[in-house]
């Protein structure tokens, strides 16, 4: 019986510890998986004596749903441009006080003032890049310059598509010569048919797990982001990256502060810390994506700086588009994607 009481007491004590143990201020940072150098977070924690609670998501939609319905409060998030547009419309982003960001001027002007947030009132660029086709030279004999190659019967079972509705629909819309921001139900229906027609050729719909498959040479193609392409091309020398001539997606991810944060000042501190040249450089080296931070870019090694995949001239990219928030038309995107996946 005494042991029983000890058990109960232990539980009670543990509970009280949970209740009032953590007096230190905690920032909740919600980011894409594997999208930050965690040593950097540690550096921030030490310097400012703030605890960082780091959590990850796989897609913008995951993050949005969790933020809206999940009963969760985050202090820093890393949405993409179209999601920023949507969140601004929904009025769930806190405006950013640039006066508090000493390192704001580190960001290159090419990357500021995108249509999604023209004054950068709500978002500070984090990384940017393109979407293209990563392919294995050994397995592909045809030239890779068009999305059409992903519909080529010859490569049945060797194609990896993205398990992300907007990105996959982008591929189909672009292949058909439409805008990837189409709001035309007929065009969307065409894209759906194209993807359904392609499905038997697809090896798998992947998010990040396709990386292993590409490195081990098990698939010929993967639709992927330029930053991942750079990293994977280092792992396997047979891999090449191409942006199809029909055009593709030019994307930006940015740091933002959701409304309702208890610590707006500390959130600004965090963003400013991330904008420091050395920090942004270390982060860019770890993550492998292209940094919009000019000061950090200058610190990178020559090979990376000259890489056409990682740092193409943003003004010479041709038919690139930036995702826009489709508004309530997203319901149609949702429906179409659910149907493609369910088939």
């Amino acid at each position: 019986m005494r042991r029983f009481f000890i058990l109960v007491m232990t539980i009670l004590i543990t509970f009280t510890f949970i209740g009032c143990g953590n007096k230190k201020l905690t920032l909740n940072v919600y980011n894409w998986g594997d999208y930050i150098d965690e040593d950097i977070i540690e550096g921030f924690e030490k310097e400012y004596d703030i605890k960082v609670n780091y959590e990850t998501y796989a897609t913008n939609e995951d993050m949005y749903v969790k933020l809206k319905n999940g009963g969760t409060q985050y202090d820093i998030i890393f949405p993409s441009e179209y999601m920023i547009e949507k969140m601004v419309k929904d009025n769930i982003l806190e405006s950013i006080d640039k006066a508090k960001l000493k390192n704001y001027s580190n960001i290159g002007s090419d990357y500021l003032g995108g249509a999604y947030d023209t004054q950068n009132e709500y978002s500070i660029p984090y990384f940017w890049g393109t979407v293209g086709i990563l392919y294995n030279k050994k397995l592909v004999s045809d030239p890779v310059d068009s999305w059409n190659i992903l519909w080529n019967e010859k490569y049945k079972g060797q194609i990896l598509m993205l398990d992300s509705q907007r990105d996959s629909l982008m591929v189909a819309l672009k292949k058909l010569g439409y805008s990837m921001n189409s709001r035309d139900p007929k065009e969307l229906e065409d894209a759906k048919q194209a993807l359904l027609q392609q499905k038997p050729l697809v090896m798998a719909y992947v998010v990040d797990n396709g990386k292993d498959i590409m490195v081990s040479g098990e698939a010929a193609f993967m639709v992927t982001w330029s930053g991942d392409a750079v990293a994977l091309m280092k792992e396997n020398k047979d891999l090449e990256y191409a942006i199809p001539k029909e055009g593709s997606n030019l994307w930006f991810d940015a740091m933002a502060i959701p409304k309702g944060t208890k610590y707006p000042n500390e959130a600004h501190l965090f963003i400013d810390y991330m904008l420091r040249a050395e920090v942004a450089k270390a982060n860019a080296e770890y993550v492998g994506y292209s940094t919009p931070n000019k000061a950090a870019f200058e610190l990178l090694d020559a090979e990376t700086k000259n890489s056409e995949v990682a740092y193409p001239n943003i003004n010479e990219l041709g038919k690139m588009e930036v995702f826009q928030d489709p508004g309530s038309f997203i319901e149609d995107y949702n429906r179409v994607w659910t149907e493609i996946k369910a088939k």
Partner: protein
């Protein structure tokens, strides 16, 4: 006084954490985003695409159950007939894998079955050429059989173990051969074990979303994946709840069918 006090916490707990959430799901299922009552979510489900997902889920779960039964019964029977020392060891060996994280065990198949993985290389050596092993229906089936086989074997084993050897000896003394003994005595007596084995295999198989997510390459969608998608990706809790209600109905109906078999058996036994 003590009696009353000790019972109340769990009764309250059951109401708050078991009954209320289920009502919430049903409520979501029959309402729109704005909270108006509607049957629209179920109407949407009537689309051939969603019906085919449901049929596919039931079909593959049944298939997995049958494979588990066919593989598992002989195994359970085999275990009862080895020497007691090995018997204990085998039972432990059967339970032990459950102590390794099931996601990880399932994920390991991805590497085992990959194009350059071990099994492919083995098949290539034998001269079977390149075989597509990963990301198809067969892979998902394999994942299910792998995960749920012990759930089939253990209940059957327990029941077989309890069968009184004297009955079998008596039958043999009366001239029954091994096959007759098995068909007339062992098999009928093991039905309760088979039934609980089927329940423990079919129920998780029909509702899983992890196995197709890990081994189906995102191409093979089951009703569990649809629910997950609606709740976490699309954010349409109403349609997701309608799908959950349908999944509950499937489980309830299959449980009712199995329960009836169980009851009939009991009556026969008495």
């Amino acid at each position: 006084m003590f009696k009353k006090l000790s019972g109340t916490p769990y009764m309250l707990w059951s109401i708050i954490f078991i009954i209320v959430p289920l009502f919430l799901v049903v409520f979501y299922a029959v309402s729109t985003k704005d909270g108006d009552l509607t049957f629209g979510n179920f109407k949407r489900f009537a689309d051939p695409i969603f019906i085919s997902v449901t049929v596919r889920s039931i079909y593959i779960a049944l298939l997995a159950t049958v494979v588990c039964l066919v593989l598992g019964y002989p195994l359970a029977y085999g275990i009862t007939s080895v020497s007691p020392k090995y018997e204990k060891l085998l039972v432990i060996l059967l339970v032990l894998p459950m102590w390794m994280n099931f996601l990880l065990r399932t994920y390991a198949w991805q590497s085992l079955l990959g194009r350059n993985g071990m099994i492919s290389s083995l098949l290539k050596l034998v001269g079977l050429g390149r075989v597509e092993l990963l990301f198809n229906e067969g892979t998902v089936l394999l994942g299910m059989v792998y995960n749920f086989l012990p759930f089939m074997v253990l209940p059957i084993y327990t029941v077989l173990k309890k069968i009184d050897t004297k009955i079998i000896e008596a039958a043999e003394d009366l001239g029954a051969n091994k096959i007759t003994v098995f068909m007339k005595i062992v098999l009928p007596l093991s039905v309760p074990g088979i039934i609980s084995g089927i329940t423990m295999t079919f129920m998780p198989a029909v509702s899983t979303f992890v196995i197709p997510a890990l081994l189906g390459g995102g191409k093979y969608t089951l009703i569990g994946n649809l629910i997950e998608q609606q709740f976490l990706l699309v954010g349409n809790w109403n349609f997701g709840s309608a799908l959950s209600v349908i999944l509950m109905l499937i489980v309830l109906i299959s449980a009712a069918i199995l329960y009836r078999y169980d009851k009939q058996e009991e009556r026969v036994n008495i």
